[in-house]
């Protein structure tokens, strides 16, 4: 009777097999990491999440600084289009992190993701926003407003506060405009 005993030979071949498998896993992990670090940012679509919108916050601050620079030079921008005419880079008017979500500007308007409220000057309250962006899309009601003292854009997530910020601005501008119109009437203009 012949007895087949292959155990010794299997034991000797398992170790190199496992070694090749382990080496392969290491190479695969390295290849995956290489893809993530070098290709993902260029090949894959940008996520639409908190990080994306946070990019708009920094961008809003850059645009606000342009407005502020004009104020310090004695020029109030009456509109964002004024800033464009004065040479502000066009890419400052669009939030790069917003992607296509914000769409294109309607006919006749500057392509921008921001709303600018001129008319706030020295001595005015800090709270009314000088610049703001609309909240992002459904399920993401993050809203950035830039106070007139240009500290940091404020993040607002509650939709009643979003409406509240803008209503506060509108009420504030109403009083300012009433004053301006009254002055014009007095001067006979």
């Amino acid at each position: 009777m012949t007895i087949h005993n292959r155990t010794p030979s299997r034991g000797t071949s398992l170790a190199p097999t496992l070694a090749w498998l382990g080496g392969g896993i290491a190479v695969g992990i390295l290849a995956g990491l290489a893809f993530i670090f070098f290709a993902a940012d260029h090949v894959l679509p940008r996520p639409r999440g908190g990080d994306s919108v946070a990019g708009c916050s920094e961008h809003l601050a850059d645009l606000a600084n342009e407005v502020w620079r004009g104020y310090n030079q004695g020029h109030r921008a009456d509109s964002l289009d004024d800033l464009r005419v004065r040479g502000t880079a066009m890419d400052l008017f669009r939030c790069p992190a917003a992607g296509n979500e914000h769409g294109h500007a309607s006919a006749g308007g500057l392509a921008t993701d921001y709303v600018y409220a001129p008319g706030i000057g020295e001595g005015d309250a800090i709270e009314p926003p000088l610049l703001f962006e609309l909240p992002s899309n459904h399920g993401q009601t993050l809203f950035h407003v830039m106070p007139r003292d240009l500290t940091q854009p404020t993040e607002v997530r509650d939709s009643s506060q979003i409406h509240g910020h803008v209503q506060h601005l509108n009420d504030y501008l109403t009083a300012q405009r009433e004053r301006g119109l009254a002055e014009k009437m007095r001067e006979g203009r």
């Binding site: 071949s13 190199p16 097999t17 496992l18 090749w20 498998l21 392969g24 896993i25 290491a26 190479v27 695969g28 992990i29 290849a31 995956g32 893809f35 993530i36 993902a40 940008r46 996520p47 639409r48 999440g49 104020y71 310090n72 109030r76 009456d78 509109s79 289009d81 914000h102 769409g103 500007a105 309607s106 308007g109 709303v115 600018y116 409220a117 001129p118 008319g119 000057g121 020295e122 005015d124 609309l134 909240p135 459904h138 399920g139 993401q140 009601t141 809203f143 939709s159 009643s160 506060q161 409406h163 509240g164 209503q167 509108n170 109403t174 300012q176 405009r177 004053r179 301006g180 119109l181």
Partner: protein
């Protein structure tokens, strides 16, 4: 060259390593972006188009009675031209009546500084948040017309409105 007994575990290992790394990245580090607007609790509160039109009618009635527009939307409620609930998203009232009193802010914004002589297409009243299932914002223009606006259209209209208001405001240099 590797023989078959070496190639097979090496290939298998590379595939396992790649799969694990990418699964961890896409599953944990970088969640897949939402492909459509999913209704969530963060969905914004805003008044409906019907409510916008009701508010616009109340403003017109107030203006015809007082020869001026209301200074704030609450004046319409005080004048009994509008119910207070019309200024709020009906879902807010339905979902959280106990907290309603803690959130008196309206779910719509109003531009009280606009006058009749201003351009007719400026924004008199609008929502700033999209309601669940809607793609356009609600707005009432200075001539009393109701419109729905895309995001880009609303931004343009708001900028035009603020520009019109701002040109009458004497400017003071900021320090």
């Amino acid at each position: 060259m590797l023989d078959k007994s070496q190639q097979t575990p090496l290939s298998l290992g590379i595939l396992i390593g790649l799969a694990v790394t990418l699964a961890v990245y896409f599953g944990v580090v970088r969640p897949a972006p939402a492909t459509q607007a999913a209704p969530t609790q963060q969905d914004g509160f805003a008044v409906s188009g019907t409510a916008c039109m009701a508010i616009a009618r109340a403003i017109e009635t107030y203006e015809s009675r007082h020869q001026r527009r209301p200074g704030r939307l609450a004046d319409l409620v005080d004048a009994q031209l509008l119910r207070a609930s019309a200024l709020h998203d009906e879902r807010r009232l339905a979902d959280s009546p106990p907290t309603y009193k803690k959130r008196p802010m309206n779910d719509v914004v109003y531009f009280p500084s606009l006058r009749r002589f201003d351009a007719p297409d400026l924004i008199l009243l609008c929502t700033l948040v999209l309601r669940e299932g809607e793609t356009h914002y609600h707005a009432v223009t200075n001539d009393g017309g109701y419109r729905t606006l895309s995001r880009a259209e609303l931004i343009t209209a708001l900028n035009r409105t603020y520009t019109a208001i701002g040109k009458d405001i004497p400017w003071q240099k900021m320090e």
